[in-house]
């Protein structure tokens, strides 16, 4: 299985080779992948040094001249540190760009809070017009990057080490129906799908999969829902997509369980797996939460 971050870097280099309007801007991080393409295209591959605010503004400045920038560093520095640059450089100027944040919530668990960014997606979600992609497989990283770069909008792609067992075709704006069930519908976002499928084995619940959460595919959610009980599983701050579920079910009394990162200040090091378990996002934790949620419905009935 390919590594998602290496796949991103390789695809980005190919896009720079293929398309003269594409520029790649980075800030030291991932420089180990970009040496060759930077030597081939020094005008369009720029390392700005350890300057993340400049990183984002340079990307936006390139876009102001009609280029298509790919802007990359860890999500913590790309979104959290340089948030106003995202807000004003891309959103407020009204220009497009493809922002690729790596490491997500757990990849650098041993690095501590400074390198854990469960807030990246909710922060980007405060900015109008951003598509948000959470690929759950290296193949999806490649497809999403190619699709995003071919467009002219504002895209945030979250590239993390965790992967599902299989990739789904990329269809931004459309969730995949993975399985159907009558009791509840679980929406698994990005790399949470494999643990979700393990967790719901033997349960009569439907499962949807999203590698793109903005735009949010309310139509498919509405279409498959039987019992109006929804479980949202997101690998970043819990409840980030909750209002979209509520909007989709505005005319239906419904229940919603939002799972994700609940305590961003865990103050633990260790491994990604340990952090995923600590937030209840491994198969065991998910099964416990989901069966409790289903049981609550039974007791209420």
């Amino acid at each position: 299985m390919r590594d998602p971050r290496a796949t991103f870097a390789q695809t980005a280099a190919q896009l720079v080779d293929e398309d003269l309007s594409v520029a790649l801007v980075y800030a030291e991080i991932s420089g180990q992948y970009f040496g060759d393409v930077e030597r081939r295209h020094p005008d369009r591959v720029v390392n700005v040094g350890i300057r993340e605010q400049l990183l984002v503004s340079v990307g936006a400045g390139l876009a102001l001249t009609g280029m298509r920038p790919i802007v990359h560093t860890f999500g913590s520095f790309l979104v959290e540190r340089a948030f106003e640059q995202l807000k004003l450089g891309f959103g407020h100027q009204g220009v497009g760009g493809v922002l690729v944040g790596s490491a997500g919530s757990f990849d650098i668990a041993a690095g501590g809070r400074t390198h854990q960014a469960p807030g990246d997606v909710p922060l980007v979600d405060t900015l109008p017009g951003f598509r948000i992609h959470v690929p759950g497989h290296a193949d999806e990283v490649e497809q999403l990057l190619r699709t995003a770069v071919a467009g002219d909008g504002r895209d945030y792609i979250r590239v993390v080490s965790q992967q599902n067992d299989t990739a789904f075709p990329v269809r931004p704006g459309h969730f995949h129906v993975v399985r159907r069930g009558t009791q509840a519908t679980v929406l698994a976002v990005g790399p949470t799908l494999s643990p979700v499928l393990d967790a719901v084995a033997g349960l009569d619940v439907g499962v949807l999969y999203a590698s793109t959460v903005r735009p949010f595919d309310s139509q498919t959610l509405r279409g498959v829902i039987g019992t109006p009980d929804v479980v949202l599983v997101e690998p970043y701050l819990a409840g980030t997509s909750a209002r979209f579920v509520d909007d989709a079910l505005l005319d239906v009394p419904h229940r919603l369980l939002s799972l994700g990162v609940r305590d961003p200040e865990l103050r633990r090091y260790g491994t990604a797996e340990e952090h995923i378990a600590a937030h209840g996002l491994d198969a065991t934790g998910l099964r416990a939460s989901i069966t409790r949620f289903l049981g609550d419905a039974d007791r209420a009935a």
């Binding site: 369009r44 300057r51 503004s57 102001l64 004003l88 450089g89 009204g94």
Partner: protein, 235 residues
């Protein structure tokens, strides 16, 4: 009765700026003269920048980024004088239905190249645009106006360092220095840029001939800074 309206493309001069600004300030005697950026803006649009209302979409046009978006009356007045903007819009500025606000928005005003207001964004954006023009083989330039106090923002220093390191000779910064930075020290702006490899020149920010000479200059392989000194804001 026939009402004759002036076409907005009529060329106006520097002497029109006081009247145009008074449409916004309601004060023809003081405000325009006290505006620190007025002469720099006029010289740029009158003598330096290769851009006009007819070339706004030309990828090879020169870019002007007003980073210091505060107090944009002089900017709007110059844009109106140069035909980018209908002067009839000036009196209603900052109202709900007006495209002209206290901070300019490029999506609302033709000729405004960046939306600004939050300090410290224009120069970093300009570094990206200078790189973009260079990558596309375009010889046009990017000129950014910042205030001396705006240089407090650390983002400027990230940009000054990178532009110097990459030798972006299509980038010019004009620092309008009215010594409004709380910790300002006379003569300390240009050396900061020089330290990072910039070509520097300091001129009287009210002297049109001196501004023209300084702003026309391009030094191969080095970005340029023009420190335009004007009256102290708080004197």
């Amino acid at each position: 009765m026939t009402i004759t309206r002036e076409p907005t493309t009529r060329q106006r001069g520097y002497h029109d700026l006081a009247r145009l600004m008074s449409l916004m300030t309601g004060d023809e005697k003081h405000s325009h003269a006290a505006t620190s950026t007025l002469d720099v803006l006029w010289v740029l649009y009158d003598r330096i920048l290769d851009v006009s209302p007819q070339t706004l979409d030309n990828p090879a046009r020169d870019r002007f980024y007003l980073s210091k978006g505060h107090g944009p009356m002089a900017y709007y007045a110059v844009l109106a004088a140069k035909g980018f903007l209908d002067e009839n819009l000036l009196p209603g500025w900052a109202s709900y239905d007006s495209p002209l606000g206290y901070h300019p928005d490029r999506n609302l005003v033709p000729g405004v190249e960046i939306s600004s207001g939050s300090l410290g964004h224009g120069l970093p954006l300009a570094v990206g645009s200078a790189l973009g023009l260079r990558a596309q083989g375009l010889d046009s330039r990017v000129v950014v106006l910042v205030g001396d106090a705006e240089l407090d923002e650390g983002t400027n220093h990230e940009a000054v360092e990178l532009a110097g390191a990459l030798g972006l000779d299509n980038l010019t910064v004009v620092v309008v220095d009215n010594r409004s930075a709380t910790y300002n020290r006379p003569g300390q702006i240009a050396p900061r840029f020089a330290h990072e490899g910039w070509h520097t020149v300091t001129v009287d920010g009210r002297d049109h001939a001196a501004l023209e000479v300084a702003l026309k200059e391009r030094t191969p392989d080095h970005p340029s800074v023009v420190v335009a000194e004007v009256e102290e804001k708080y004197s």
